[in-house]
């Protein structure tokens, strides 16, 4: 396939769905694409992750009007285009975490995910020590509908990763594609020993009182930007919103850096300072998640470092914890 055909496919998909993709403003961001010229073809890691398209920052769960109380699903057909390999990995993990969540799953069913790779992302090379090994069978462990690989001669190699993806390709006369069967989020051999297990062990052997966490705790202002930018921070809270005679229960993103995250009525709060919050954050990502799902809560996109006003560098911290 070539780019012209891809543009034609995206144009067709735009007619029936809302199309989201990377676009360049001051930085590369994910926006609704209304004109295909808006798409940024550099495929660098965008400022935001794609998580908000499957797990919105605010979404309605229930609505009460008078005596009537009902479940609400605000879901539209959407196409997410240009998901790089790291963000695709993150969406795959999120899908597993929210496998029993009807809001996430209904939205995913109405979403066509199109991954795009123009080689290993620039940042991925930069933080080589930190990331998971890039393996040939990576696509088998990614959740996507269509994946497009830009080759050196600029030709596009097309993969389908779901029945939905196949249908879209067939319907649009694209025959030259390879079917990839999804084999779950992790490889049969288990988690990547270097990235997943060594980081887990490194965090398990220390506490929030260790030097690494004390040092970063001293400069962290607990603003929570890292967790909002992270493609795999998914914690949330519920909020009821009143509007006239209508009351809506919403699910909203939360962050473990906020003061009330673990506070209970009566004042008990076991996360008292930034070092404890940071430890809790790292512990969740590399210990609890690995224990629970066999994959970590990090795909090494470095967004947490890029948005951090204090310059806290996760790659450097993990390296320090391991030495």
């Amino acid at each position: 396939m070539n780019k012209q055909k891809l543009m034609k496919l995206l144009g067709k998909l735009m007619e029936e769905n809302v199309l989201f993709g990377p676009t360049k403003e001051e930085e590369i961001v994910i926006r609704q694409i209304r004109d295909l010229k808006q798409i940024d073809w550099s495929f660098q890691i965008p400022k935001q992750s794609f998580k908000h398209l499957l797990l919105p920052a605010r979404e309605r769960l229930l609505e009460q009007k008078g005596a009537q109380l009902k479940e609400v699903f605000d879901i539209k057909s959407q196409v997410i285009f240009g998901v790089n390999i790291l963000d695709l990995q993150a969406l795959t993990y999120l899908e597993t975490i929210f496998s029993e969540d009807p809001y996430f799953q209904k939205r995913k069913a109405k979403t066509i995910v199109i991954g795009y790779s123009s080689g290993i992302p620039e940042d991925y090379r930069k933080y080589k020590i930190f990331h998971e090994k890039y393996r040939e069978d990576k696509l088998e462990h990614m959740m996507f509908d269509i994946f497009i690989e830009e080759q050196k001669n600029k030709n596009l190699k097309v993969f389908s990763g779901s029945e939905k993806g196949q249908k879209v390709l067939d319907k649009n006369g694209i025959k030259d594609y390879v079917n990839i069967e999804y084999a779950g989020p992790i490889r049969e051999e288990g988690p990547d020993p270097d990235f997943v297990l060594k980081n887990k062990q490194a965090i398990e052997k220390v506490t929030a009182k260790s030097k690494v966490f004390k040092d970063i705790g001293n400069i962290c202002i607990a603003c929570g930007k890292c967790s909002l930018a992270c493609p795999l921070c998914f914690c949330f809270e519920h909020e009821d919103v009143k509007d006239g005679d209508k009351i809506t229960r919403e699910r909203r993103w939360s962050t473990c850096f906020f003061p009330e995250f673990t506070k209970i009525t009566g004042g008990e709060n076991d996360m008292k300072d930034a070092a404890q919050k940071l430890y809790y954050w790292y512990y969740h990502k590399f210990v609890r998640m690995t224990d629970e799902y066999k994959f970590p809560g990090c795909v090494s996109c470095m967004r947490c470092y890029k948005v951090c006003p204090a310059g806290i560098n996760i790659a450097k911290n993990l390296k320090n914890l391991k030495t």
Partner: protein
């Protein structure tokens, strides 16, 4: 796919004042739900109202009555619980659940129940569940601030008749029940029932002291069970607010053995 956030209406069929801020509510669920309702002592419900969110509330009734009604003891200490205790018989609450693991089943063992303040709420369900089991001896130890903050007072006579019932108040006495003032730890001076499981529910500050004494008395960490509390929203082990170590209070707890907590390096 089941929607875990869907709430059900539960009608208040009885409201009984326990003290100035605490009420025992008997709730009738919708007929289909009530018919199939089952719970274990120690499990909790997410209870709320639209506009007020939800709060986790332990069930305090007898599991054998679960097909007829459930009882919740609610203390008005925050925005949602204050609203809930203002409700009257005939009003409705919105509920989800039950959640959590509950206390382990008691077989061929005796039971020591240690409760501090409002912590006693889920232990009432344990007393009701095993109260008529002749094979299980029960020793009940309750510590409370003063006689005005006590609840379940109506049951004290019956509990005293059937079990080894001990009450202590931080301030003052209660004729017939609390002969001296002090903390619940003072009740641990007496001989404890042998071959027992120990269920403890109370504020975190109490756990530390009680567990320390129990360990000194050579009670095994795996026989000590504690019910923990933390802020929570989903009840599914996803929202992350109630995580401790690698576990979730809402899903893997709220009841943990001291052995488990120790393995998780959770410090009381």
């Amino acid at each position: 796919m089941r929607n875990p956030y869907k709430v059900d209406k539960a009608k208040i069929i009885k409201k009984e004042k326990q003290n100035d801020i605490t009420y025992l509510f008997r709730l009738k669920l919708s007929s289909v739900l009530q018919k199939n309702f089952e719970f274990l002592p120690g499990q909790f419900m997410q209870v709320g109202l639209m506009g007020f969110r939800e709060a986790p509330i332990s069930i305090s009734s007898d599991p054998k009555d679960s097909k007829k009604y459930i009882e919740l003891t609610i203390r008005g200490v925050g925005r949602i619980t204050n609203k809930l205790i203002s409700l009257k018989t005939g009003d409705e609450m919105l509920i989800r659940g039950p959640f959590g693991n509950g206390f382990p089943e008691v077989k061929d063992k005796n039971l020591i129940l240690i409760g501090g303040g409002c912590g006693f709420v889920p232990l009432r369900s344990v007393i009701e569940a095993y109260g008529n089991d002749k094979k299980i001896k029960m020793q009940i130890l309750i510590g409370c601030k003063d006689k005005n903050t006590l609840f379940f007072k109506k049951s004290f006579n019956q509990w005293k008749k059937k079990h080894d019932f001990n009450l202590i108040l931080e301030k003052g006495k209660l004729p017939g029940f609390a002969k001296k003032s002090g903390f619940v730890t003072d009740l641990l001076d007496q001989p404890l029932l042998e071959n027992s499981l120990i269920f403890i529910v109370g504020p975190p500050v109490m756990y530390k002291h009680v567990v320390q004494i129990l360990l000194q008395k050579k009670i095994k960490p795996e026989d000590i069970y504690l019910s923990l509390e933390k802020r929570m929203y989903c009840g599914q082990g996803v929202c992350q607010h109630c995580a401790i170590g690698t576990k979730y209070i809402c899903k893997d707890g709220p009841v943990f053995s001291y052995r488990e907590l120790n393995n998780m390096l959770y410090s009381l």
